[in-house]
Symmetry: C2
C-alpha cells in the first residue's frame, strides 16, 4: 500500500497526476483496461506482474477513482475492474505515450501493437498541442505561469 505521497501537495498538475497514477505498473494496468482487460487474472497474465503488487496497484487505482470495482459482467460472483470517467480521461496520456514510443523505439518495419480507429481501421492522427485559437504549438511557443487561479 502506498501511504506517503510525494507530489500530491504540489501546485503543478503534472505532479498531481503522476502522484495519482502511482507508478508505471499502474499506467500499464490502465492501458490494458483501455484494451479491454477487466479481470484480475487478465491484468496479471497480460502484465506478468506479481499478484501482491497487482493487488496493491488495483486498490490504489480504485481508491484514486481511476478504476472502479463492479460485479462481473458475465454474472459470476467475481468482480471486475473498469475505468471510471476519470480513468477514461487518461486516454490522451496513453495515446501520447504510445505515439512517442512508436516514433522513437521501433525500427522501421519492426512489428508492434497498434491503436486504430474502430470504424475505419486506420491509424490515429498524431496528437497536436494547439493554442486556444487553433495554432499548432511547439514547446518553445509555450510558457508556464507559475501560479494562477483557475
Amino acid at each position: 500500500m502506498v501511504t506517503r505521497t510525494r507530489f500530491d501537495d504540489s501546485e503543478c498538475p503534472v505532479a498531481r497526476s503522476v502522484d495519482a497514477i502511482g507508478d508505471w505498473w499502474s499506467l500499464l494496468i490502465v492501458r490494458d483496461a483501455f484494451d479491454g482487460s477487466r479481470r484480475f487474472g487478465e491484468f496479471q497474465r497480460s502484465l506478468g506482474v506479481a499478484k501482491n503488487i497487482l493487488t496493491a496497484r488495483l486498490r490504489t487505482l480504485v481508491a484514486g477513482g481511476v478504476l472502479e470495482s463492479v460485479p462481473a459482467s458475465d454474472g459470476s460472483a467475481y468482480r471486475e475492474y473498469v475505468l471510471t470517467p476519470k480513468g477514461k480521461a487518461l486516454f490522451p496520456v496513453i495515446v501520447a505515450l504510445r505515439q512517442w514510443g512508436e516514433q522513437n523505439f521501433f525500427a522501421p518495419g519492426e512489428p508492434h501493437s497498434q491503436l486504430v480507429d474502430r470504424q475505419q481501421g486506420h491509424r490515429l492522427r498524431a496528437l497536436e498541442v494547439l493554442s486556444a485559437d487553433g495554432r499548432r504549438l511547439n514547446p518553445d511557443d509555450t510558457t508556464v505561469h507559475k501560479i494562477s487561479t483557475q
Copy 2:
C-alpha cells in the same frame, strides 16, 4: 543505475516509452526542462529530490537520448542538461498529464501553475485524439491490433 529493463522487450509502444522514461522523477525532470530548467542545481531545488537520485536519473535520461549534456550557455565550466528532439517530442505527454491533473485534482478556483501560449498568453486547447480523417475519438471508438508491421 538501472540495469534491468522490465518492458523494453514488449511489442507495446506504451511499455517501451514507460521503460525509456524510467520513473516518475524522470518525467518531472523532463517537465522542468520544458519549463526552462537546465542546471543540476535547478532541477534539484525545483524537485527536492536527493542528489544521488537526480544524478542517476539525469544519466539515464542522457543515455536514453531524452536529454543531452552540453557546455553551459553562460560560458562557465559547468554543464547543462537540455532536451533533445526526442525529449521535446514528449511535449504531448506532459501536456496530457497536465490537463488531466487540472481537470481532476484541483478544486474550482484552486490555484495551480498554468501552461499558456506565449504569443497570446491564453490557456491551451484540450488535447483531442483524432482519427486519420479528423473525427474526434473516444476510447471506445478505438481498438488495438495486437501486432502489426510498421
